[in-house]
Subunit: 401 residues, 2 copies
Amino acid sequence: MNVAVLGYGTVGSGVVEVLTENQDSIDVKAGKEIRVKYILDLRDFPGDPHEDKIVHDFKVILEDDSVKVVVETMGGVHPAYEFVKDCLQRGKSVCTSNKELVAVHGAELLSIAREKRVNFLFEASVGGGIPIIRPLNQSLTADKILEISGILNGTTNYILTKMTEEGLDFDTVLKDAQEKGYAERNPEADVEGYDACRKIAILTSLAHGKQVDYEDIYTEGITKITDIDIKYAKAMGTSIKIFGMSRVTEDGVIAMVAPFMIDKAHPLFPVNDVFNGIFVKGNMLGDAMFYGRGAGKLPTASAVVADVVDAAKHEGTTIMTIWSQEKLKLAPIDGAKFRRFVRVRDGFNIAGKFGNVTVLEPQAEGEKAFITRPVSEADYKKTAEETDGILSMIRLDFKGQ
Amino acid sequence: MNVAVLGYGTVGSGVVEVLTENQDSIDVKAGKEIRVKYILDLRDFPGDPHEDKIVHDFKVILEDDSVKVVVETMGGVHPAYEFVKDCLQRGKSVCTSNKELVAVHGAELLSIAREKRVNFLFEASVGGGIPIIRPLNQSLTADKILEISGILNGTTNYILTKMTEEGLDFDTVLKDAQEKGYAERNPEADVEGYDACRKIAILTSLAHGKQVDYEDIYTEGITKITDIDIKYAKAMGTSIKIFGMSRVTEDGVIAMVAPFMIDKAHPLFPVNDVFNGIFVKGNMLGDAMFYGRGAGKLPTASAVVADVVDAAKHEGTTIMTIWSQEKLKLAPIDGAKFRRFVRVRDGFNIAGKFGNVTVLEPQAEGEKAFITRPVSEADYKKTAEETDGILSMIRLDFKGQ
């Protein structure tokens, strides 16, 4: 079975490497010989062992009917979307690692794939090498999914872990992460939570079978987390993580990306460094968690190639994925209640604003910190707007008592 | 689509409950209406809401060609094996939670299913509600699996967790676990590691595509772990867990069940109480871990019902599972090297027997404890046999430095 790879960057070259390196075992598992015929890239790669497979014209791939599976690892919505759509319409299965493409056009591309009896697969778009798309789709089918909380971005988890372990502030750690290549020169997509937002949009769409638009998801990054917040977290034996989270509440499904303070009983507590972890709660299953490398060349390529194997095994049939283009109406987060960790300047009238709170042992001069009872987003926002002196607020997600 | 359930015990009644409770979402995901037509049990259940479905004669189910999927939750090899084989040969798919049946006859039953174009599925046989069979089969197909280490038995994990948290000895905690219903009155299958042994046999068979007989797996339980061992583990910031483990070594695949001392960097470190966790290392994926409830009525039933949904979605085709009846030749563990935690009586000549070791801060009178360099099973056994004074030995599996 011939495969073409669109984009010979980090993940694309990883896909070729995995297909070559594990060729024998992959052929057995796919039940057929899987070979890379073309690699599409604008650049040439003189001296590369796969140099002869490089093409610059997408049409060569599109019009070669011996190519049954196309791997899309270019990233970005355009021209990935047009290329993928063309391939599906031409009767080729597509496997992609492109979270943005999937978040925006996933439902439509799945429907084209179904119509053409091919497959559109995207295991690598969330959680890198961690199997999470296929488990949600095929393993947790007996359950109603009540909650998904995911550490979905390795860069921000690395930064928060280093801040915790070394007591450093955000800017210092970010600079170090950039020097090590763990963070981009323009780190916005990671540190502002945009990357995690697209990923929780995909997971929530799959969990509920309807389209969740990422623009509708409240998103808060980690740039305001300080070393003093971390000091308090450590003193309490808790940890600060940024989650993509969606949860079934009385008002409907809420979704958000934000930093959360979690306790030791939380299954995501031990997920550190660049690792990702995805916590899923089903109404029958209870708590489950999936852990692994959320990024990186070979782990991500491993997930893409597993999709290629699945596409090979399902030639002529479409793996059922419930994700309609109908929009899932998210409940506004205004009503969502959280206990909150709050730091305020000395002299702030805590009881007058937040009622009964648990005051914490001070970790810095000139300020106080406390834990509130559950306070809704709307109520908190109102208080924060009417008041001067709040230094920081982090929502709590404690799974223990 | 009509379903029959064999055995109306804990898991069987859970299956009926999940199918009833989540009927609407399950029907959507399966793409057809899934209904329980029969429940086979020797007993009657007067007053049970599903009383009218109880039958006592297996033939009623076997000969009703409207029953397309049979759930086997009786446990034990006989008559489960005969019933399952008859169903498959009659063209019915079978979903089972029966680890013993799968460990012994899995490869054969898969081959009958393939021949009859039906499915034999067993997600619930390992790790209860945790998706692990399907991920191994369908998600980790790009990888060569280098290691599987699983906390596969909730009873023993509960006992070790309580011994650690409360500093109690094995017998006291076992008695408490029996009173709470977490351990059987005859706890041998759990505490001697036999249950974990069958489960690691299944996982290793799937990882390598060939039959691993559980009788060939070295199995050591937790009955010899004392509160003093636990004291040392805690003092070192480590933890003692019983694993089913298989690993690709230079000599081939080794498999064993035994208590291991693990460090904080080990992904299984935070897996406590009755929870299970399965660590998998792929040659491309790197480290991954799956965590959740390894037992219990509804989590296990959730996994069985996910199989029922998969069987419904794949009516007329067989999901490819690579597990041949050809035997995987396991390497003898004699050559397997481990660092070891060893406790000896005062006066024992450590250097004369184990060379350079790291001596630990004493936690009990009249004895010494130390960590050895990597020592093979054969060498350790020889030393232990030639020597008087070894009080205990636990292998190390440290993932950090």
